[in-house]
Amino acid sequence: MVNPSINEREPKLERLQLAALCGLMFIGAAFVFSATMANASSAILPWYDQIWVRQIIWYALGLGASAALCLVDYHTLARWSFVAYWATIFFLVVVLVPHIGTVHGGARRWIDFRVFQFQPSEFAKLAFILAAANFLSRPVDELKQRGIFWKGIGLMMLPFILIMKEPDLGSALVLLPTGVVMMFVAGTPKKYLLKLGAGVGILGALFLADILFAPPALQIKIQEYQRQRLLVYFGADFASANATLEQKAEARRLQVDRSYQGKQALISVGSGGLWGQGWCKGDQTALGFLPPGAAHNDFIFSVIAEEEGFVGSILVLTLYAVVLFTGLRIAGQARDRLGKLVAVGVVTLLFSHVFINIGMNIRIVPVTGIPLPLLSYGGSSVLCSLIALGLMQNVHIHRRGY
């Protein structure tokens, strides 16, 4: 009997995505090096204290973690999704408690474990994706029920509110598109989503109008620095109309201070030109105009843009595009709705990060503290990005095999 050899499995891993990932990790290490080694004082640090070395260590740890996760079928993982979800909610609450959470830059987002800073919001995003995928992978007809719809919204809002309280507007914001896209792909009726969209749009516009234009008495209470960031983005005057001359002068000075970071990032990006200044030759970081604290995490893209120019930025965008679109392919080829939802969720999460961070660097989005996945320095961010990509590979590995 002829036994046609059925190719039981295609190659296990999505190679193209892995290649793109490796490219991004390489770029990440190289430019964290450039951003942090620019000043002489860091050159004398011992090698294990140097930031780019630490970044490579995180890469290794992350790869290890995602490899470990890939060994387990994602269905098993999904069964634990709600446990993970509630655990992260727990940590999100805990981090808000004064003595346990550490404050850095006016926000209480981390729990200090001595060796590394644990940022629950990053893990919350992952847990949310798994939990939401699990929740939404019920039969499509069930999704038409209003109750289920509102439960889904609740699932999204709980971590959102907790993260907002830290405060961490950026991380909270990325939950929204992730959740909405997952609901959309899952098959929630369009009219629910449209109504939701309209409602959010109106609320958002009112909110912005209130922040920008209303007299102080009627303004909604958000953190001062967040309000200032919005004002800087819209180029609005910091002082209210009836401020005294002194207050106006003070406000103008504050405005210059606050818009400094965004402006410097923009100058960095712009002065890169077509080909850039060359690796480690960027003036903005070397001269300290791009604040050293931000250069290697939130503004790493401007370092890349200055040093490698338009060509470099396109390269980075392409690598992300590869990762995102292979992710979508994985979603399309997933075995079931759970897998599809997980993949779509991860893709949207990553895309939101990329869009907001790069947008912040070129000033089409106000400054928010969002890292660039895999390129920004930050243990939790790297770990979670790699775990998320591991989840996608997981879905790919266990997909239908024809």
Partner: protein, 661 residues
């Protein structure tokens, strides 16, 4: 392709998601294109504006030389001991670290003490109150910097053996506004100090000697009024880039030659660009426009004659004499010497000595050009010339009883009573004779001749310090003019006022046969570097302003009479005679009156020219509050003519260009 084969399957939601993703990436792409390619230039210039500073490098100022190339004003290098703040960054940071740790320890102690008092741990809010504010941290930084700077200054103090202080405010201001420039802590080191410094401090530490160019006047106070002075300032001059971050100061001339020829002496400043980091510290520098040195100005002054005149005044009348001397070449109009006493120091000082503002001495006035004086008897030759031109017979005798009446007015004549002809009247300076001659000639003729001499007008010296004097105009003499006024003018009093340089021009005209010249002070302007190939600008000599148009015979009569004044033992100018040189001169004693026409002072003169056979030099000496022209001024003129004779008799030296040294 990647995902498109999947999208062909019927999955509208994924398709929409893919589209949104693609759209988002395209937006980013477009934004990046806009910023990095289209607006790249604008951002690059933003970067440059914040990272580059331009520094104006001053040019080397031109020298001022006398006619034989001897230096009257030049630049010498001056060494300043400076702190280079960027090199001291590490020390600043280290000092700050130390101070910060100390402060933090103290804070911890504070907290511990408070907790002990309260018996409990402090709350968050209370801790916050004790935390360091930005203002306090900033103060710590300041303290750290000041500490490091003070330490260095103390070190230098000890090593150089000289007490040095650091002005804290000035240092902070320099740190805030001029971080990239060296900060001087001791200016103008002498050789011993430089040697000590080089011995002990070479090799960094953030300090070094900075070279600065200082304007010096090797001849001290000689010709100070003529030279003027310079002031250190930071303004740009026309023709230079005016947008600089830092302007290193250089000299800008005020009055005198320094002022009048400032544009040529100044040169053109260059530009250096300095790359600074976000705190303002200098990273690297690059000169992109070399400064162009200024030109040398060669004056017509002869330093020997100038020295002789100044020394003579000091010897005869003392350093506080209020006096002026002008020596001119009658054929070319070159000013060979111009002296104003009391002398001043041409080096500008922020705290001038009190005597500069002394209301009586008024040393800052250039008495040769800036002050009006009554000419007194030295005006008589001009009157005489006018009278001769109007038909006076020089041999006609005028009876002088020792006085003369003009209308009701009695005017005394110091000359002894007797008969006077022209020659005798000049020798003895008879008022009666000249008043009579003047009245007979008529004020119109007098004024017309005086206008030919261009009294009452500036002589056009390029040194920005000249008064016009006063000559009654034709309209003035035709309205409400009396004989008494004519009488006054005839003896050089009343409404006539002149400056010594005007007199020198007038006597030169008498001497050279009737040509009124424009006096020339600057001979030429030449480039500092003879190898530069640039051509010097020569100022033409012997520029004619006017012709007297008088009979040569009348001038000859005047020459003879004035010769007798110095050669005749009875002549008032006898003290001026120099053996071997025939000098023609006229003394003068003018009365200075107050508002009530009471005589309060005398201005004495001696105006002359020599040699009689072929006049070449005119010397005018004026002394305020003198006794008489003959006793006060003539001896000074004597010394000057001695010097002139000496020069005439020594072999001619070749011209020395200053560069050859």
């Amino acid at each position: 392709m990647l995902v498109f084969d999947e999208l062909k399957k019927n999955d509208p939601q994924l398709r929409l998601v893919a589209l949104v993703l693609a759209a988002g990436l395209c937006i980013l792409l477009a934004g990046l294109w806009w910023v990095q390619v289209v607006s790249a230039h604008e951002y690059q210039s933003h970067l440059e504006t914040q990272a580059y500073r331009t520094v104006r490098l001053p040019a080397v100022r031109g020298k001022i030389l006398d006619r034989e190339g001897r230096v009257l004003a030049e630049n010498r290098p001056r060494y300043n001991l400076c702190l280079y703040l960027d090199d001291l960054r590490k020390q600043f940071d280290a000092a700050y670290g130390q101070l910060f740790r100390q402060a933090r320890d103290m804070q911890k102690q504070n907290i511990a003490a408070q907790e002990k008092n309260l018996g409990r741990s402090l709350t968050k809010a209370e801790r916050k109150q004790l935390a360091f504010s930005t203002a306090q941290l900033e103060q710590l930084h300041e303290q750290a910097r000041l500490g490091v700077a003070n330490d260095l200054v103390a070190q230098f103090s000890q090593q150089l053996g000289q007490p040095l202080t650091l002005d804290a405010k000035d240092f902070e201001r320099a740190y805030e506004t001029r971080l990239a420039l060296p900060y001087p802590i001791l200016k103008n080191l002498d050789d011993v100090q430089i040697a000590r410094f080089e011995e002990k401090f070479t090799g960094g530490l953030g300090t070094d000697l900075d070279l600065e160019s200082a304007r010096v006047y090797p001849s001290g106070t000689t010709a100070a009024h003529l030279l003027g002075y310079v002031k250190l300032d930071t303004d740009s001059v026309e023709g230079e880039d005016s947008f600089f971050s830092y302007r290193l100061p250089d000299y800008s001339g005020m009055v005198g030659v320094e002022g009048g020829f400032d544009a040529q002496l100044h040169g053109r400043a260059g530009t250096e660009s300095v790359l600074v980091n976000s705190q303002g510290y200098r990273q690297s520098e690059n000169v992109w426009l070399q400064p162009e040195p200024g030109h040398n100005v060669v004056l017509t002054i002869d330093l020997d004659i100038q020295h002789a005149a100044e020394e003579s005044i000091a010897a005869h009348q003392g350093a506080d004499a209020r006096s002026a001397v002008v020596v001119m070449d009658v054929r070319s109009g070159d000013v060979l010497a111009m002296v104003s006493s009391p002398a001043i120091n041409p080096v500008f000082s922020e705290n001038p000595p009190a005597y500069l503002n002394d209301p009586k001495l008024r040393p800052q006035i250039n008495r040769a050009t800036q002050q009006n004086y009554a000419p007194g008897s030295i005006f008589k030759p001009i009157i005489g010339l006018a009278a001769l031109e109007a038909g006076l017979d020089p041999d006609a005798l005028v009876d002088n009883p020792g006085y003369v009446y003009v209308g009701q007015r009695h005017i005394t004549d110091l000359a002894a009573p007797g008969q006077y002809n022209f020659r005798r009247a000049i020798i003895h300076s008879s008022n009666t004779y000249f008043i009579t001659a003047g009245l007979r000639a008529g004020i119109d003729n007098i004024i017309r001749i005086a206008e030919k001499f261009h009294f009452g007008e500036r002589t056009g010296l390029p040194t920005r310090q000249e008064t016009k004097g006063n000559l009654p105009s034709l309209s003035r003499i035709h309205s409400d003019w009396h004989d008494g006024d004519t009488a006054n003018v005839s003896i050089g009093q009343g409404e006539i006022a002149i400056t010594p340089v005007q007199m020198a021009v007038a006597y030169s005209a008498i001497a050279n046969g009737g040509t009124v010249l424009w006096p020339r002070l600057v001979e030429r302007i030449e480039p500092q570097d003879p190898a530069s190939g640039e051509v010097a600008t020569n100022f033409p000599s012997g520029l004619v302003r006017d012709e007297l148009g008088v009979h040569p015979r009348n001038l000859q009569i005047l020459h003879d009479a004035m010769l007798a004044e110095t050669e005749d033992p009875e002549g008032t100018g006898y003290p001026a005679r120099v053996p071997g040189l025939r000098i023609c001169g006229k003394t003068g004693t003018a009365q200075v009156q107050d508002e009530h026409n009471r005589v309060i002072d005398h201005t004495v003169w001696f105006a002359s020219f020599a040699p009689y056979e072929n006049p070449k030099y005119a010397v005018v000496v004026m002394v305020e509050s003198g006794i008489s022209g003959g006793s006060t001024c003539a001896p000074i003129a004597h010394d000057i003519y001695e010097e002139i004779l000496k020069k005439e008799n020594t072999p001619i030296k070749p011209r020395i260009l200053a560069e050859a040294k």
